[in-house]
């Protein structure tokens, strides 16, 4: 009997290992769409900078990286890279590179960067398994691991090539929470130090660490309110807080923020409160007075109020920075739109529609409320944490699409708990009925808990799972339908990952009518042209979206890039793009611009081009230069933004318009449409015939997607006064007459005007007379 149990336990752990390993493989494999379709390439915008920085670190070493001043970005300001990035991602990738290379496995750093996020997705599902196991049971944990590996909300930021902070940060987030739950449960110093270490990794990786440092104190605070204070919580929190605080301050980019900004004050406040509370408890335990309960209550409330007041006073006194705009906009949802257009302009910062919730989470979005319900009804210390996590994350995800990423893990965990509970009930059979083996892999993982638990179930958990005589048919139907919903989720995830989240956006693909794919490689074509044909120190002006790519692929100096730290510099570029040629030329000369790069999608119907982003340029420019740039001037009197004949003249003559449509009016794409037909905006452009005086076209890619212009040198000859007079608005009163004509020679006054007092000199009369003659 004992031997049988032992073998069963061995079989069980083997199964767990197999399932978890296949989870990792599944997570890795399902993220390779882009690599298979295109090639092993870095995606999007930010990853290009991360790649460039990692490359720098791998070549020059860690300390050189920390001291790196990048003079090729934000010309002429430059950027201190070492102090303005979260280095965790680069350290992770380059240390993997270092280890592999020292093992004589030579691999290019780029390949490590490309495959880093898929590898970490496997770790994330392991962490999700651990967290769910701590919260509920192992069966739910396994389900959570599987779902975590494929859920689109997480895949969106971790496909191969998406080499970004979030790729490793979600792992760090879930792992920190797992360790926190562990330390709350055990109250051991070991686990809370591990929590602090994991938190340190998270701080080094992503700005979202603020979420952890607010959620854990909130958890502790709520536990205090619930009267669930214990020594375990005290040990876990105080050691985590101190260690985490000291370690997080080691990251150069974070620096003294943990003691100087409001975002971190909740943690410090709860720390102080916890000290006060435990001190009071200590007094109580040593005193002989009977009725100290009320006193303790009031003292605690007083201490909380005092801590709060201290923080508020320090904020007013200026010792603590108030909430920064990015975080503040989460609370006051209208704030960003009014005050920080640069945040509002990013599509990731828009609020979330119900469609995107459903798109990213599918069945789980319906199922996870039941998980919340279950946990609240069976609450204990650690479950309170996950409930708080769920409620706060769902709020943040509602405000910003981007934060869907932090919501996804908790939804998966809770919905897997909900699914698992239901399966527990409906898969429990009194008789030893055997079910046919399922060939579907997903199915197997779902069914497997039943097999493993069969031995125990009979004796121990019969009362818990037994739901009575429902009938085998009904039971199997319920199980089958739920399994089918899960399968639909798997199919949905695969489709979403393949179709929506796997385009590198550096290489575009379009499908032909016959179903074959055409790859548009215009971006790389243009960047490579820049790399090959321009001077090494050439300065390229473009909108900030393309800054990182230009720096990464073309290796040229840029004026602004995706690290939008200097709003006024961006506004200056926006102003150059949105003013007319003369004004723009002045700005471009001031900024030493050599080339201007723009994205134009009108020829192939690419909607993410600069004309469509143009209004944001105008808005951002208007924010800094309200006198020169006015958004309303770019609209038609009816308030429309249109590029055709009815468009506003300011728009039709601004630099961006001219650069986009230079010589486009001569091109006829299709015999059905007139020449100069913009396929993105479905309009024939309004200004076809114009000259470009201060720029000359340098390069246009195959599909016109990227256009590069060279800024002309100033003329050798200084412009004559004539033009100046023209510009200053003084109009010449008389016509210019050639001196050579016979009649009007110098010195002759024809029909001299008579001056009569009180009357105007009249010239027209004499003209009229002449006509009559």
């Amino acid at each position: 009997m004992i031997a049988a149990e032992k073998s069963l336990a061995g079989f069980k752990s083997l199964l767990v290992i197999i399932v978890l390993t296949s989870c990792c493989l599944l997570g890795f494999a399902s993220r390779l769409f882009a690599v298979i379709r295109f090639e092993s390439i870095i995606h999007e915008f930010d990853p290009w900078f991360n790649y460039r920085a990692t490359h720098h670190m791998a070549e020059n070493g860690f300390y050189n990286f920390l001291n790196w001043f990048d003079e090729r970005a934000w010309y002429p300001l430059g950027r201190i890279v070492g102090g303005t990035v979260y280095p965790g991602l680069m350290i992770t990738a380059s240390s993997i590179h270092f280890i592999l290379n020292s093992l004589n496995i030579s691999i290019h750093i780029r390949d490590i960067c490309v495959f880093l996020a898929p590898i970490f997705s496997g770790f994330t599902s392991l962490a999700a398994y651990g967290l769910t196991r701590e919260l509920w049971n192992e069966r739910a944990g396994l389900l959570a691991a599987v779902m975590m590996a494929i859920v689109p909300g997480y895949t969106s930021r971790s496909v191969a090539g998406s080499y970004d902070n979030e790729g490793i940060a979600i792992f760090a987030l879930i792992f920190t929470y797992f360790l926190w739950i562990k330390s709350i449960k055990t109250g051991s110093l070991f686990w809370s130090s591990c929590t602090a270490l994991s938190y340190f990794y998270m701080v080094s990786a992503w700005g979202g660490y603020v979420f952890i440092i607010n959620l854990i104190p909130l958890h502790v605070f709520v536990l205090l309110l619930m009267g669930r204070y214990s020594k375990r919580i005290y040990i876990a929190y105080t050691s985590f807080f101190i260690l985490g605080l000291i370690m997080s301050m080691q990251i150069p980019f974070v620096g003294f923020q943990p003691v100087r900004t409001s975002e971190h004050m909740a943690a410090a406040g709860v720390f102080a409160l916890l000290q006060a509370y435990s001190a009071l408890l200590f007094i109580k335990s040593n005193s002989t007075a009977v009725n100290l309960g009320r006193l303790i209550l009031f003292a605690t409330v007083g201490a909380a109020g005092f801590v709060f007041l201290v923080v508020v006073t320090l904020t007013y006194a200026g010792y603590i920075a108030p909430w920064s705009g990015r975080f503040y906009s989460l609370w006051d949802t209208g704030y960003a739109k009014v005050h920080i257009p640069i945040i509002a302009s990013v599509s990731e910062h828009q609020p979330t529609t119900w469609v995107s919730f459903f798109f990213d989470l599918h069945i789980n979005i319906c199922m996870f409320p039941y998980g919340v319900w279950l946990l609240i009804n069976n609450i204990n210390d650690e479950r309170a944490f996950i409930v708080l996590y769920a409620v706060s994350a769902v709020y943040f995800a509602g405000v910003m699409v981007r934060l869907m990423l932090t919501l996804t893990p908790v939804v998966i965990i809770l919905s897997s708990i909900a699914f698992s509970t239901t399966f527990d009930k409906y898969l429990y059979y009194d008789e030893d009925e055997e079910e046919g083996d399922e060939s579907e892999k997903e199915k197997k993982e779902i069914v497997s808990p039943r097999k493993r638990d069969k031995a125990k179930q009979k004796e121990v958990t019969r009362s818990k799972f037994y739901i009575g005589d429902v009938g085998a048919n009904t039971k199997s139907m319920v199980v089958m339908v739920l399994a089918m919903l899960l399968m639909m989720f798997a199919v949905h995830s695969t489709w979403v990952t393949g179709s929506a989240y796997s385009s590198p956006s550096v290489v575009l693909a379009s499908s032909n009518p016959d179903g074959s794919r055409t790859v548009l490689d215009d971006f790389r074509e243009a960047y490579y042209w820049l790399r090959q044909n321009t001077h090494e120190n050439a300065r390229i002006m473009s909108w900030w979206d393309y800054g990182y790519q230009i720096a990464g692929m073309a290796n040229r100096t840029t004026l602004v890039d995706n690290n939008t730290w200097n709003n006024s510099h961006i506004a200056l570029v926006g102003k150059a793009m949105s003013s007319n040629e003369t004004a723009a030329y002045k700005i471009m000369r001031e900024l030493d611009v050599d080339y201007v790069l723009i994205i134009f999608g009108g020829a192939i119907g690419y909607s993410g081009d600069d004309i469509n982003k143009f209004l944001w340029m105008v808005r951002i420019a208007e924010g800094e230069h309200p006198k020169e740039i006015k958004e309303s001037e770019y609209f038609t009197p009816n308030g429309e933004f249109r590029v055709d004949r009815l468009g506003s003249p300011t728009l039709l003559n601004c630099l961006m318009y001219k650069m986009s449509y230079w010589k486009f009016g001569l091109m006829q794409m299709d015999f059905r449409t007139p020449s100069g037909y913009d396929r993105t905006r479905n309009a024939e452009i309004g200004n076809k015939d114009f000259t470009l005086d201060v720029l000359e076209e340098a390069y246009t890619t195959e599909h016109w997607l990227v256009r590069i212009y060279k800024v002309r040198e100033p003329n050798n000859r200084v412009k004559s006064l004539q033009i100046k007079r023209h510009e200053s608005g003084i109009k010449k009163k008389t016509k210019y007459y050639s001196k050579k004509s016979s009649k009007r020679k110098r010195g002759q006054i024809k029909k001299k005007l008579k001056i009569v007092k009180g009357k105007k000199l009249r010239k027209s009369k004499s003209k009229g007379k002449k006509k009559n003659l």
């Binding site: 979330t352 469609v355 069945i363 979005i365 319900w373 509602g398 009930k425």
Partner: protein, 328 residues
Amino acid sequence: LNNKIKQLLEWNMRRSIIRMNGEKFKTYIKSGPRNYSVIVMLTALAPQRQCSICRLVANDEYKVVADSWRTSQMYSSKLFFAVVDFDEGQDVFATLKLQSAPTFIHFPPRGGRKKADTFDIQRHGISAEGMAKWIGERTDIHIHVFRPPNYAGTLALGFLLTLIGSLLYMRRKNLEFLYNKSYWAMAALFIVYCMTSGQMWNHIRGPPYAPRNPQTGEISYFHGGSQGQFIVETHIVAILYVIFFFGVLILNEKVPTTDDSRKKQLFAMAGLGIVIFFFSLLLSIFRSKYHGYPYRCVIKLVFLYSVRVRVEERFSLDLSLFFSLLIR
């Protein structure tokens, strides 16, 4: 001219917005000479005119702008704010050929009015900030909008808190309900459903409730694209989510606690039916919004399964594959 300015300033001392009738309008605004700009709100404040925007929104926002101007340091006789009510100056409306209220018009010191001198509510929106921006564009006077701090919200919050506090105090003998987990769960689920059904999007973007097509008079309940949504749509979705939740609840908590075997079976089937039906409904709504989504709802498949009809071609390949796996 000096007399006019004097008079206007005197009025302005008393009120930030000068109330005008047809006669005053003629002398102070319509006829020259002037060296000051006037912003005029033409409105209909009388309740019987039934212009709720005029009374509730436009008037307050306009007052905010005018007050900020009067209290600002740049305050001078360059700019005045005036209001003409329809019932006091119908002739003004007639001369300006206005059909609708509220309308904001800027009368520049010299020269005729241009098209842009009429405030475009569609574009700027009726907000004090939008108006200040427009005034800045037209007159080069930049008014920094200063809203009187809104005590109403704070007061309401304080009132609510004291109400809750006093209720708690009154019932201090019986605080059991605070320990009721169901209440807390319901509160948490309320937040969850608000957010997942996109109420925050509604709050930030302010979509129409259920727009009516002006041509056909048809009311559309669902936004056609995946980028937008209507308020009624989010309510429908939230209700579907809640019903789905009840389906799961029946399956998990109603079935085990029922005694009768037949009733158990009935409840189980009902819960299952709710889960399938409402999830399919959600999926089909999602499908109609997310164009090109290839997977069909399960509802028909399950129906087919129960009556054992063969899978038809029109179902997508993947699902029929699964389906055949299932019925094997």
